[in-house]
C-alpha cells in the first residue's frame, strides 16, 4: 500500500496519459468511423470498396501488429513520427474500423420512409445523410459506441509496445522497480475500473436520454 502512495504522482501521470491517448484517439476514430460508414452506404462504388477493404483489413489484424508495423516498420519508408502521435494514429485507425461497422449497423435501424421523405423533399445524398439519417443512426448506437470507448481505454495499454508510458506502462515500471507486484497491479486495476465503470454509467444515461421512442 505504501508503495502505491509513494508513487501516487506517477500513477496520476500514467492515468493522465491514458486519458489523453483515449480522448484524442476517440475523436480520430469517430471521425474515421462516421466517414467510412458514410462512404460504404454512398452511391460511389470505388469508395464503397475502399471502405470495405479498410474495415476488413484493420478488424482482422491484431492491434499489436499494427503498432509494431507502424512504429518499427514504417521508418524504412521514411514515415517517422513521435511515439505519442503514432499511438494516437494507430488507435484511431484501429478503433475507427469498429466505429464504422457500428455506425453502419445504426444506418440499418433508420426507417426506409425517412430516406424516401428526405429524397422527396429534394435533399441531396449528403444532406440526407447528414441531416436525416446520421442523427438517428447515431442515437440508436450510443450503447455499442460506449462499449467501443471502454475497449479503447483498455486497448490504449498496447501503446506500451512502442514505449508510450501510460497507465499500464507506469504500473509495469513501478512493479519491476519495487518488486511489489500485487499492490501495484491492484492499484492499476482499480484505476482502470475508475475509468471504465463511470464511462459505462454515463453512456447508459446518454443512451436513455437520446433513445428514439417508437
Amino acid at each position: 500500500m505504501d508503495i502505491v502512495l509513494e508513487n501516487f504522482d506517477r500513477f496520476v501521470q500514467g492515468l493522465t496519459t491514458t486519458l489523453s491517448l483515449t480522448a484524442l484517439s476517440w475523436v480520430g476514430a469517430f471521425v474515421i468511423g462516421v466517414a467510412v460508414a458514410s462512404l460504404r452506404v454512398g452511391p460511389i462504388p470505388p469508395l464503397r470498396g475502399a471502405g470495405a477493404v479498410y474495415v476488413e483489413v484493420v478488424r482482422n489484424c491484431p492491434l499489436t501488429v499494427l503498432f509494431v508495423v507502424f512504429y518499427f516498420g514504417f521508418p524504412s519508408i521514411g514515415i517517422i513520427l513521435p511515439k505519442f502521435a503514432s499511438a494516437v494514429i494507430i488507435l484511431s485507425v484501429y478503433t475507427g474500423a469498429f466505429v464504422a461497422e457500428t455506425v453502419r449497423a445504426g444506418f440499418n435501424t433508420v426507417a426506409r420512409g425517412q430516406v424516401e421523405a428526405a429524397r422527396t423533399l429534394g435533399l441531396s445524398f449528403a444532406q440526407m445523410l447528414g441531416m436525416v439519417v446520421l442523427p438517428q443512426a447515431l442515437r440508436a448506437v450510443v450503447g455499442p459506441l460506449g462499449s467501443l470507448l471502454s475497449a479503447l481505454i483498455r486497448n490504449s495499454s498496447i501503446a506500451f509496445s512502442i514505449s508510450v508510458i501510460e497507465l499500464t506502462g507506469t504500473t509495469f515500471q513501478i512493479a519491476t522497480e519495487t518488486a511489489e507486484f500485487i499492490p501495484v497491479f491492484v492499484a492499476a486495476a482499480v484505476a482502470y475500473l475508475l475509468l471504465t465503470l463511470p464511462t459505462g454509467l454515463v453512456v447508459g444515461v446518454i443512451e436513455r436520454r437520446v433513445a428514439i421512442k417508437r
Binding site: R40, V41, G42, P43, I44, P45, P46, L47, A50, E56, V57, R59, N60, C61, P62, L63, T64, V65, L66, V68, V69, F72, G73, F74, S76, I77, G78, F107, N108, V110, V115, E116, R119, F125, M128, L129, V133, R154, N155, S157, I158, F160, S161, T168, T171, F172, A175, T176, A179, F181, I182, F185, A188, A189, Y192, L193, T196, L197
Partner: protein
Amino acid sequence: MTALIGDELGPRGRRRVLVGSVVASLGVAALVVVAIQRFADRGQLDAEKWSILAEPAVVGFLLGGLANTVKAAAAGMVGAVTIGAVMALGRLSRNRPVRWLAASYVEFFRGFPLLLLILFSAFGLPRLGVRLPLFWYLVLGLAVYNSAVLAEIFRAGILSLDRGQREAAVAVGLTDGQAMRLVVLPQALRDVIPANVGLFIALLKDTSLGFFVQYEELLRRGQLTGNFDGNLLQALIAVAVMYIAVNMALSRVARRLEVRQRRRYGGSIEVKGGPEDLVAPETAARKENVGV
C-alpha cells in the same frame, strides 16, 4: 446491410456517380502509386528483401510462429470455456453469495486491459513463487480475461432460451440440475457456437500480446526474422497478411455457422453483408411462411 441508402438514380444522378467513380478510382490509384513509389525510393521493393521471405527456413520459422499463436489461443480458449461456463452458472445460481462472487469475477476481469493481466502473470507470478513455462503464463492471462467475456456470452445464451424449456423439464420430473444439464445447456451451448468462433478470432489476435513477454508467437518471430535478415518492414507486413488471412477465413466460418444454425433452428438473422447473407433472408422468409 450492404443496401445503399437512397433510391434509383435518374440519368443525371447516374452521370454524377460515373464522374465520382472515375475521380475516386483515380484518387485511390494515386494513393497506391505514391505508396509504391515510397517503397521503391527507399529500396524497400528490392527483390532480395522480399524473396528472403520465401526461403524455406524463413517460411518454416514464421509458420512455426503461427502454430505457436494457434496453440496459445487454443489452450486459452479451453481454459476460458471451462472457467466461463462455471462463472455463467454461478451468476445464475440461486445462492446469493455464489451469484455475487461470479458477478464480481466477471466485472473485475472485464474491466481492465488484458495486457496488464498478461504482464502480471508473466512477471508477477514468478516472483510470487509460481514457476511455469512462458507459454502457460500467456495462456493463463488469455484464459482468465476471456473467461469473463465468455461467461457473459454463455449467460446470454442460457437466458435467451425459452423459459418453457426449463419449465417443461421440471414438469416431467427432472430436478433443477438435470433440467439445466440435459435440457437447457445443450441448447444454450449450441446457440452460442458462432459467438465462440468469434471469440476465438479475438483470442488469436490477443495472442500477439505474447510479444510483450518474449513468447515466440507469429509477431515476435516476424520481428526476429526481420531483424536478422534486415527486412523488418517486409517481415512485419508478411505477419500482418498471415493474421488477416487466417482471421478472415475464420470470420467466414463463424458467419456460415450462424446462418446455418439460424436456418435449422430458427431465430432472426442479422444481415451483415457478405455472400452468406444471400441465402439467409430468403430462408428466414420461408420460415415465417411456414409459421403462418
